[in-house]
């Protein structure tokens, strides 16, 4: 008996040593006027939600509240009597650390339960999964998932003719196989024993875009098997390109590499013609691509193209090249002004109908103003001026405007008025948009590299190309992995805007399906599917970027 009294006595002592009501109230309730108001408010909201849900789903509400209460009891027991387990300590630190947090926890539990049960009811309990029944089942309140199966062809490839579907599957299979090869090649054990596998996989990845293009867009066959003009034109272009690279000391010239370069085009041309002649891959109109296929192509195309372009623009914006001197800029600007004032202005003046048009006829006067700003802001630095103007102009325009411009104005730019495919117009518009944003990201990364790195590279005698390639860009790109991943995800998601300029990407085709009589009234199912799909892809990219970041050892420099 005495031992029991003693234990209780001890407990009471430890209780009061551990717990101070005054402090507890001060920390949780009476500490400040705002705290009191906040706790009162959150109490009211929680009680309101609790009462509301008690009416609609009493069982679940009571169970969840009971679980919550048990959690509180565990924490109280742990705090007052030293009976903490690791779980109760976790609860205390994360969910039940104060009165207001405890209330918020209950509130969130109740709200999440409501949402989840709603989705569960709609998406599973009352839903129909019958793949043959694609029209909405008006008797049930749930989802009619059959539409996804019924419209699978449209969702995956859009308006692409069904006889070409196997080519899409082939491309997917190729990418999967390549991924598998790289995966195997980068395993630590394989990496050391079969180093050549990695080189093979890189080569295959570099060839993959060409193969994908042949699969998805097909090849045209020109009638005489070898067209001498095409052959020579290609050869001249390749040789000129090679000479340019040699001039800038990017490549070295030895007999073997000269032979490879010169032979590259003729061999490629013959292969092209051979494949085209078989007729296995007849040309597909790129505007027939649609659905998931188009969205994926957009994302890959735009990201791959805009990345190097963005780096170039960022470097251009920081380029410190010798400016065009004042004594060249001003005479040219003045001569142009005078010339245009004497030719263009009179013409416009005579046809003008009002004062505004008369004022516009004097447009050559803008040239000296532009020249003034060119000198003042850029000291005649052409590269910088171009990059800054490009970036700021593009960033000042909404993407949707740019896409409309690309589609509407592209025919004006092409020679002989030949219609340019909408797909290519949108690719160009979207790429320059993405590149402008990418450029600013990269510029941030370049600025994060300490000045000493540039100076060390300079003092060791690296030229500009080597300096960026070996020293600056590797460090900058490492810093840039998180924002670049954000940009890749953004490009992927924003590609849905092309639906607004009449292209049937994933979102465009879903809008089409919703408007289709066959599946009338089914929209939630399709939008839910889009939600899940975009979410999975985006979080996949961001997961991969985090892994990449870790692997490249960011922060452990």
């Amino acid at each position: 008996m005495t031992t029991l009294t003693n234990t209780i006595e001890e407990r009471r002592k430890t209780f009061f040593k551990r717990f101070n009501w005054q402090y507890f109230l001060q920390d949780n309730l009476t500490g400040s006027r705002w705290l009191t108001i906040w706790v009162a408010f959150i109490t009211l909201v929680t009680v309101g939600v609790f009462v509301g849900q008690l009416g609609s789903a009493p069982g679940w509400t009571l169970i969840l509240t009971a679980v919550w209460a048990v959690g509180i009891l565990m924490v109280v027991a742990g705090e007052l009597f030293g009976l903490h387990t690791s779980f109760s300590r976790w609860l205390k630190d994360n969910l039940l650390s104060s009165i207001s947090n405890t209330l918020v926890t209950l509130l969130i539990i109740l709200l999440v339960a409501q949402v989840v049960s709603g989705i569960w009811q709609w998406g599973y309990v009352t839903a129909t999964f019958d793949s043959t029944r694609t029209a909405p089942d008006l008797r049930s309140e749930g989802a009619t998932w059959g539409v996804l199966w019924g419209a699978r062809k449209l969702i995956l490839t859009g308006t692409l003719a069904p006889e070409h579907t196997w080519r899409v599957i082939l491309t997917g299979a190729m990418v999967f196989v390549l991924w598998l090869i790289s995966f195997i090649a980068t395993r630590p054990t394989v990496k050391t024993s079969m180093g050549y596998l990695q080189r093979i996989s890189i080569t295959l990845w570099l060839l993959a875009p060409i193969a994908s293009y042949i699969f998805l867009a097909g090849l045209e066959y020109h009638e005489p098997f070898i067209n001498i003009r095409t052959l020579l034109t290609g050869l001249v272009i390749v040789v000129a390109f090679m000479a340019l690279l040699w001039f800038f000391k990017v490549i070295k010239l030895d007999p073997v590499s000269i032979g490879l370069w010169v032979a590259a085009w003729p061999i490629g041309y013959v292969i092209w013609q051979l494949i085209a002649r078989t007729g296995i891959f007849p040309t597909i109109n790129v505007d027939e691509w649609g659905g998931l296929l188009l969205t994926v192509i957009f994302a890959i195309f735009v990201n791959i193209l805009s990345f190097p372009l963005g780096i170039l623009l960022a470097l251009g914006r920081r380029a410190d090249v010798q400016g065009i001197p004042v004594w060249i800029v001003w005479p040219i600007a003045l001569i142009a002004t005078v010339y245009l004032l004497s030719t263009s202005t009179p013409e416009l003046w005579t046809t003008s109908r009002n004062n505004v048009e008369r004022a516009l006829a004097l447009w050559p006067l803008l040239i000296p103003i532009a020249a003034y700003f060119y000198q003042r802001s850029f000291q005649g630095n052409m590269v910088q001026a171009f990059s800054v103007l490009f970036i700021e102009l593009i960033r000042g325009v909404p993407l949707i405007t740019l896409l409309f411009m690309a589609i509407v104005m592209a025919p004006f730019f092409t020679a002989s008025g030949s219609a340019i495919k909408n797909f290519w117009a949108v690719i160009v518009g979207y790429t320059i948009f993405s590149a402008a944003y990418m450029a600013e990201l990269v510029r941030g990364g370049l600025q994060a590299i300490p000045k000493g790195q540039y100076e060390a590279a300079d003092s060791l005698g690296f030229n500009v190309l080597q300096k960026y390639r070996f020293i600056i860009l590797p460090q900058a790109l490492r810093i840039l992995i998180p924002p670049l991943a954000g940009s890749v995800i953004g490009t992927f998601k924003s590609s849905s805007l092309v639906a607004l300029v009449g292209m049937f990407d994933l979102v465009g085709i879903v809008r089409g399906i919703i408007g289709n009589g066959q599946w009338l009234g089914l929209r939630s199912e399709l939008y839910a599917f889009l939600f899940v799909l975009y979410f999975v892809v985006s979080s996949g990219v961001s997961w991969y970027s985090r892994r990449l970041e870790k692997r490249m050892g960011l922060g452990t420099r």
Partner: protein, 256 residues
């Protein structure tokens, strides 16, 4: 070739020739007409209060800063806007920085061999062999595969010195190489520098290490307000300076 341009202002022995070098930062004149001839193999220590232009001056010698007036001729090649000249000179002039400026994403060995392989176009084997020799000479051959972030300040600075020397420069510029180091690490870097000074390199060093100056310098140059105030033999300079300004400076640094 470059020596044929204009009147010859250099004699064969002078590896560095500066004539009336001026440098402005906007309105501020950092260098106000610096004249200096350095003979091959000479060790020169440059002293002066902060902001006196001494760092700016040696950074002009490999064109990290651009001088606006006057002439700088390194080993017979004049520093102009001509990029080929600048790159040629940078191959002959090595620089060691106050903040080491190692490349953090490369190992010590890669740090050292990157420039020899890509600038000097040596084979990897040759570059690595020489790099190893220099790492041994500065006393840290065992650190070759580590990253700069894993080394102490003194070790990093010695790697930086090895990186500079593997390029086989004829002239070495030191820009306050010990100022960012903890006191106990200064000695290990100074020992390497002493070793180099006796090894026949032409050295221009901006430093506050008076002991080093006294011991190995052939000449001490005192900078103030963008000008050379005094040039003197170290024993004379520290015991019997010619100029009032020098005396004041020495008073301040020796009696703190």
């Amino acid at each position: 070739m470059a020596m044929m341009q204009g009147p010859s202002v250099s004699n064969v022995e002078d590896i560095v020739v500066c004539r009336n070098v001026h440098k402005w930062y906007g309105e501020f004149e950092a260098l106000k007409g610096v004249d200096l001839d350095v003979k091959t193999g000479e060790v020169i220590v440059i002293l002066g209060p902060s902001g006196s232009g001494k760092s700016t001056f040696i950074r002009c010698l490999n064109r990290l800063e651009e001088h606006q007036e006057g002439r700088i001729i390194i080993d017979g090649i004049e520093l102009t806007h001509d990029l080929r000249n600048i790159n040629e000179i940078r191959r002959e002039v090595g620089m060691v920085f106050q903040q080491f400026n190692l490349f953090p994403h490369l190992t010590v060995m890669e740090n050292i061999t990157l420039a020899p392989i890509h600038v000097r176009k040596w084979s990897r084997e040759r570059a690595e062999e020489l790099a190893m020799q220099w790492l041994t000479r500065v006393g840290i051959p065992e650190q070759a595969e580590k990253y700069p972030g894993q080394l102490s300040g003194g070790q990093q600075q010695r790697v930086a010195i090895a990186r500079t020397l593997t390029m086989q420069p004829r002239i070495l510029l030191f820009d306050e190489p010990t100022s960012a180091l903890d006191p106990e690490m200064i000695k290990e870097v100074l020992d390497v520098m002493r070793d180099l000074a006796r090894g026949g390199y032409t050295i221009l060093a901006v430093t506050h290490e008076m002991g080093f100056a006294r011991e190995v310098a052939d000449r001490v140059i005192f900078f103030d307000a963008g000008q050379i105030v005094e040039t003197n033999h170290p024993s004379e300079f520290f015991t019997n300076p010619k100029e009032e300004r020098t005396k004041l400076f020495l008073n301040q640094i020796l009696h703190h």
